[in-house]
Symmetry: C2
Subunit: 151 residues, 2 copies
DNA sequence: TCTGATAATGAAAACCATTATCATTTTGTA
DNA sequence: TACAAAATGATAATGGTTTTCATTATCAGA
């Protein structure tokens, strides 16, 4: 159980320990399809492991970010949200729709071929023009969700 | 001078007063090609108008955001950055390259046709699929700038 | 199994960008 | 000029995140 997961390997390679806390946090991230804040994760973990503190949540999330296991998103609503990276998630490559009214965040997986084409072209162009090595990108669409339109 | 600008009209339409503070803040935004934080703007304004406080900077930036004169960006480095919107800026439609090491932000105006094509397709798709009305989008490219590569 | 070095942790305090409060000043209008 | 509404600055408060530091858990070697 402990070492059979992808991240178990990753942790070992980085000389990090796969502790109870870290496993509990990863488990929460694996078993959700939402975008969770540190506090969301703290509360989810707390029900089974009341001893784990919020500080550890923040520290672990930072660690998971550094090792490429989670992505940190700042949607502009005060608190950062976390999601497993494509490599470690069941989710496919996707981007986000954000409702400017209710702040809902929806995953959007369509038109990935077209996106890839544009992104590749742009990333190559930037490499050539600026010498900038691109390795990730973010696309956010802002608008009003159907519920807020109806209101 | 006071009313000959686009934003003068906009302010009037909204029943807002075009005060010294607001003009000073707009002037800073007009005369830069950088992405400034509230504090950056405060310091720039301060040299000529020491009486203007940081609170007014924040309040005015929020106002300018509401009226569509500035865009607020959260690049994930702690403080928000502000830039005139396409409509009020000399800059063309563009997106951003962000260096993950030194946090530099570079404007990128290439491949806009290709981008527009993809964005239109995606926005239409989302409208049809989710009933989500998209009106803006953000594209951020993350990577390492040439200076940091050389280090 | 013991032991020491190192990593991880929790509680509490500190940090810091941003926002709220409120008394005062400025502005547009009659 | 007088008055109401809007704008402002100093200050305090907020709240998500990070630091600090003493304690605990983990692992490698003896
Ligand atoms: Mn997502
Ligand atoms: Mn820009
Ligand atoms: Zn909504
Ligand atoms: Zn750099």
């Amino acid at each position: 159980m402990r070492d059979c997961h992808k991240w178990g390997q990753k942790f070992q390679n980085y000389g990090l320990r796969l502790t109870i806390s870290r496993e509990a946090i990863l488990e929460v991230l694996i078993n959700t399809d939402k975008h969770l804040s540190a506090e969301d994760i703290f509360m989810a973990v707390h029900s089974n492991n009341p001893a784990i503190g919020l500080t550890t949540i923040y520290r672990t999330l930072e660690l998971l970010k550094q090792t490429g296991i989670v992505t940190k998103f700042e949607f502009g609503h005060g608190k950062a949200k976390y999601e497993l990276t494509e490599e470690y998630s069941k989710k496919k490559h996707h981007h986000h729709l954000i409702c400017k009214k209710c702040r809902k965040v929806v995953d959007y997986t369509d038109f990935i071929m077209e996106e890839k084409e544009y992104i590749n072209k742009a990333a190559t162009g930037m490499q050539n023009k600026f010498g900038f090595d691109i390795d990730t990108h973010i696309i956010h669409f802002y608008g009003i969700c159907p519920e807020c339109k109806a209101e």
